[in-house]
Amino acid sequence: MKKNIFILLLFSFSTLFSTEKFNLQLSKTPLREALQTITKLSQYSFIYGDDLVKNFSVQCTLENVSVEEALQKVLQNTPITYTIKNETKEVVLYQDPNVKTILSGIITEKKSGEVLIGTPVTLYNDTTSQKPFRWAITNKYGFYSIPDIPPGTYTLIVRSLGFITFQQEIILTTSEMRKDIALNENEVQMQEVVVEGMKENQPIRTLSTISVPTELVQHMPSLGGEKDVFRVLQLLPGVKSASELSSGLYVRGGSPDQNLVLLDGVIVYNPSHLGGFLSTFNADALRDIRLIKGGFPAEYGGRLSSVLDMTMKEGSKEKIHGAGGINLINSRLTLEGPITDNMSFMISGRRMYLDAIFGLAYLTGIMNKKQYDETPTYYFYDLNTKLNYTVSPSDRIYLSGYFGRDVLNTNGNTKFDLVWGNATGNLRWTHILSPTMFTNFSLIYTDYSFNSSLQRDTTKNNTFSSLSKIQDIMFRGETQYSAFNNHLIKIGTELTNHTFRAATSLDIFTQKELLNQSQKIQTLDGALYAQDEWNITEQLSTNIGGRMYYFQSGNYLALEPRFSASYALAEDLKVKGSYSIAHQFLHLIIRNDITLPTDLWFPSTKNIIPSKSQQWIVGIERNFGEEYIATVEGYYKTMENLYEYKDDAIFTFGIPLEEQFAKGTGEAYGIEIFFNKRIGSFTGWLGYTLAWTKRTFPELNLGRTFYARYDRRHDVSLVMIYKFGESWELGATWTYGTGQAYTMPSGQFQWGDVYSSYIFSDVIERNGYRVPSFHKLDLNFMYNGTFFGMESQLSINIYNAYNRANPFAVYVDTDYYSQANPPPKVLRKLTIFPIIPTFGWNFKF
């Protein structure tokens, strides 16, 4: 746009007869015109390219100045420098190679004001460029920073699936630019599982990282209508479940306790309800779900196998609205909205109502009073809350919390009271220190507890109480520094005070009494880490880092190098690799493969050496346009100092628990293939895993190596989501897995003495038997419409659509109904879930 230009030239006498000094007054004058004026006044001519000066204008008043003085003033806010050739009265203008600028800001959703995580922000030289000039990825707080940009004109593009692409021409001068962008939601929603680093023009960040949109969870089939994050993750290659009932994640041969499960940066020790049937995470409350299956960067630590990093919603800044769902198992409700212009909230709750259903069964006569009294009462509830306050454009404060409880009790002859759960809180302050430096500080509190009391009869000799509790107070600080053109540096520290309490008693105590009498282990856990995401060349990207720990209990110091790299063989073809070491100082000692609530978290001590893993990963990934992505990854992982209960563990009060643990090693390796159709009305993926998971414990299986219970040779998952028309969607998943490893006898024999003898089973190998393979098809038909004035989704889930009799458990049993004497032993296979159609209603208001 042509601006109104006013030029007033005042020619003095000396100016007329001398080229040395002159006066000059410029008012919003384009630089090109200003230079032409100076030429007229000074007789000096300028040599420059048109692109160099086209974006600048000048405003100044100068009196009695030389050419050089005039140029200093005129060019002072530009990246242009000059060389004067007095002999020829020429001035050569060129771009100052030392002047760089910084583009930074926060990317949000326009509608809700929620920040967008992991969104690529890309600068192109112009709109026709195929290759991006520079880029950055938003962090967990939506912040991005692109430093070291030569001033000039660029095309800025911000793309995020489900949002209209933002594109704008921007002019960067010497000054840094803050550019906050709010993306508009796309009318046509698309679903994808994003393998990070695989988007076009996006740098490699970490290997084996998968982001699952929370929207996707809503479209997947489920059992009982409750959408579960963990069950979606179990459909990814490299992630397995222990059983049909379990939502526990077994990632690349690691047990569930080897996963670092973070909710808003807070460790959740027990991420499952009902012994693993459902995860504790309410999908309605989540905004971002990211699983790192291995080779995780130095910013994460403390676990051997994987990281599941989930972020809660911040709460809409637009208006108060809500969402909810009702299904066969539980109901849930989420409310979010603004409190003030600068403050928003989110609160989300969920409750299982099995207890109410039994109550209804009693009231309607389905159960009689005796049956009702003897039926254990079970329910769970969880609550997610978050408050976020924007103090200034550079400062935000978040207060988030999670509270979940499982309650199981009985009132029969044997009285049980079991209560377990987590409570967490996180006060976080994020501060943009400079356009290149982002900091966040958190003060975290975690409380995990398991309480039980048992009363078998009225005598004190048949009672038992126990308590297991972990309380953590943690400080975490991290600085993210976009140092140069190709470096993103993160430095952070974590300091945790763990308090473990454990108590058992042969008397019934109140939990307070038990707490007072409990054995207390208090220990400090410190970590320091640094990592550099370094794009060495256009083709070669690396993430180099290290993590250092100190664990007070046992006085352990550990170092962990982390390295990953990616090399682009072609525009759509990349090879990747990583090597990492990880340590774990907290051990979940399990009794068997089912995660009972009685399983025990135990810290490293002088006798319990920290677990350690080393993992190597290589992979190749290929984009087929924007629509398809394929990856193949291979991994090899070794694990040391793994702990399980000994086969002959004794749980008598007074015997040190540490003496009951067997120590061993593990080995896991495999290949994962992932083919993902990301966009369109038909989306989904095909995953295949070929894997081996082995354990060697001197005190188990006679010291011989054995397969872990969840070792599964072949694992296939096919996920399809098809949208037909405006209102209907079909979600389908088909899974196949090699049967789990079980310990089974290979014979029976008689053993005893002259007085008595018994029939025993002859076991040759621990987990040496395979149960039949597992496969099933789940379907979810969804109708999007309006009911009761609310935007709604009605879903019909069909679990196990072709009614496959999948084994849940296999065991040898004595058939006492047989006429034979002695009664024969038979193999029984327990199948739990047949075809189960269920109905669910999700709504938004």
Binding site: G224, L245, L274, G275, F277, L354, I357, P376, L408, T414, F416, L454, R456, T459, F464, T504, R591, N592, I594, L596, T598, K646, D647, D648, I650, F651, T652, F653, L700, N701, T743, M744, P745, S746, G747, Q748, F749, Q750, W751, S761, D762, V763, R766, Y769, A805, Y811, N821, P822, P823, P824, K825, V826, L827, R828, K829, L830, T831, I832, F833, P834
Partner: protein, 279 residues
Amino acid sequence: MKTNFYHKKIYKVYIFIITLIPLFFGCENIIEGELPYTERLVIQSELQAGDTVDVHISRTLPPLGTYKEEDARITNANAYITCEGKNYPLRYVEKDFYTTDSLIATIGKTYELFVEWNGKKATAKTTIPPIVTIDAEQSYIKKQVKDFGGGSISYEYYGYIFVLSQPHNVFSIFIQRDNPNYYFSNYINTTYYQKENVLIEVQSGMIFVQSNPQEPQFYTFIKNYDEQYYPFYKTFRSSNGSITGNSSDAPVQWNVTGDAIGMFIGSSVSPAQEVKLKQ
């Protein structure tokens, strides 16, 4: 143990609860199946010092189906024992019982067993350990009385036995009352497996009586095993003591090798010594 009871109950309630969900959906199936069978010889022989050396030889049967003793019997095994370079053939007597007729187990001597049947072979080796005794002066029995009211009284006896043991001795303590039908024994465990001269508590368990009985006399004897007995004891016990009640959880550390399972183990028994009741 109460804690085991506790775990069992938790497990059962847990299983019950998770089973409630499928029950609610109305489905539970039990299907018959098959298991692979590996036939192995079963050898059982305790070579007690001073006794004739005998061996029981049988075989395992398929893991499913009825166990019939007569099907498991082996009557035509080729078996012998060697000691100090001399072979002692084992003669089949009856059922699964074989004997050397004349070979007497002697403390300090090493015996090797060789069995062959139907192409399957088994070997084992054991040494008869020395007798382990107690220090009767330092050992005593204590009585604990519990009155539950209503005339219900229980007596519990605790034996504190000072065993003159050596490291790596693997032994059991037996405390016998004057009533020969009643004795109580301890379990072998690692607490004193590695130690020398240890004081071991042996608990009788509760004896409910209606009136105060006459004070009994107690006698103690020690059975000392070849060291190979310890890993067998630990694994055999653990494989049959899981909380799920399944008796097939873990392999057992037998000392018979080859196509076989079983124990061929030497032992010695100390003479019974009286231990005083401490009031």
